[in-house]
Point group: C2
Chain length 246, copies 2
């Protein structure tokens, strides 16, 4: 029934679940690492272990792309790499601009994982005159005034915002006004954008806070020792605030 000829049509093309999309890059990385070790074939069990998920989930995820496995054998690594890459859109080049060249921007500019997966950094921009003109990872930092020109000239399709929080929304607006519809935001603010623009957020401190929550739970949880009897505290007293505010 599923001959190799019509596999592409068999997959439910327009409906890959978001949760699956978020895991595909993880599978892809595991597959690349298998490729480096010259592994030609992998079972769902092995690949799932390498990706840190359970094997049923992996198989269901892959089944959304089509039937790329062989029963009794497993998946052909190379073929699967191609199919996932294609589904994620990594077989084409994406032009990225990095806005804000502080430590984080520098880390991003030098991150090998971008270039090797179809992402080409075409511009580094900053507002700080003392940074503009510097060469970072072989690329000159340009002034933020040139943002709109640069997006248009170089065909930027993804903007990475790595600026302080206060600057982020304004820059996001400019970027969106220039036609960019995908933004990766590292600034600790919620960006508001018009319909049709995708924003993904990476927040360093949120992850730490989630860890702290679980760590606290392991140690007994809040309320067990009641650091101060908060429930009896009349609102308006302020002394508890200094515990969390720098």
């Amino acid at each position: 029934m599923t001959s190799r000829q019509n596999r592409n049509r068999d997959r439910a093309d327009r409906g890959i679940p978001e949760a699956t999309v978020a895991r595909l890059p993880v599978y892809l990385r595991a597959l690349h690492s298998l490729q480096e070790r010259d592994v030609a074939t992998v079972s769902s069990e092995e690949l799932a272990a390498a990706a840190g998920v359970n094997s049923a989930k992996l198989r269901k995820d892959l089944s959304h792309l089509g039937s790329y496995g062989t029963r009794g054998v497993g998946y052909e690594v190379e073929y699967l790499v191609y199919q996932i890459s294609r589904e994620l859109g990594l077989t084409q080049d994406w032009v990225v601009a990095i806005i804000g060249v502080g430590n984080l921007g520098r880390a991003l500019a030098g991150y090998g994982g971008f270039a090797s997966r179809g992402f080409r950094v075409a511009g580094l921009l900053d507002a700080d005159e003392s940074i503009v003109g510097q060469t970072i990872s072989g690329m000159a930092v340009e002034h933020i005034d040139r943002l709109e020109d640069l997006i248009a000239e170089r065909g930027v399709s993804i903007a990475v915002i790595a600026t302080p929080a206060v600057a982020a929304q304004g820059l996001c607006d400019r970027v969106v006004a220039s036609g960019v519809t995908s933004v990766l935001n590292f600034a600790p603010v919620v960006l508001s954008v018009p319909e049709g623009v995708d924003v993904r957020k990476v927040d360093l401190s949120i992850e730490l806070q989630i860890l702290a929550f679980h760590e606290q739970r392991k140690a007994g949880g809040p309320g067990d020792y009641e650091p101060l009897a908060a429930g009896d505290e009349p609102p308006g007293t302020t002394h508890y605030v200094e515990a969390v505010e720098a």
Copy 2:
């Protein structure tokens, strides 16, 4: 029924959904920003807008902590800040070690969002002799050999791994062996840890890949133009691989 005296007991203490936990830090940030503007009271509608979620979700999330709002009025900002901080465990100090002092490690070391939310960076470690001894954000970089000592001496409870991929698992093992049960991993690998240890992953390139997927969908999606007739490709041919491998 819910007098202020027994609010703490009213909340369903041991069952805060994971999805809620992940949003609490976002609410907290929005609340801090309201505090700075001297706003004393906020409705679920307003706070939800500031946090970028819908108001029913916000109310349900907060209801998991207890009943901290007043019908007809809203939530008292200061009180809510305290309750969320306490639930997340931010009223106590967390001692953090940053392992790997490349650009990313530096960015993390200098990130203000840590210090101001109960996270104290107590050590910066690296294996590179030319980095050891340097002062980053007012703190001397120490040699990775001192990892175990340092964790024990300073009571490190959270380890942040910001090293190249190859080094990450080995360092993670050492950190876990020293008793750390919370790890924040920036290296692009899946870390395996024993039961009881929490790992959270932040992956810069995965987020970009997810954006690329959606960007591609906006432009018509894969399969619409069929860059090459992949379904008809016999497995074993390799020319498509160079499209995705650096």
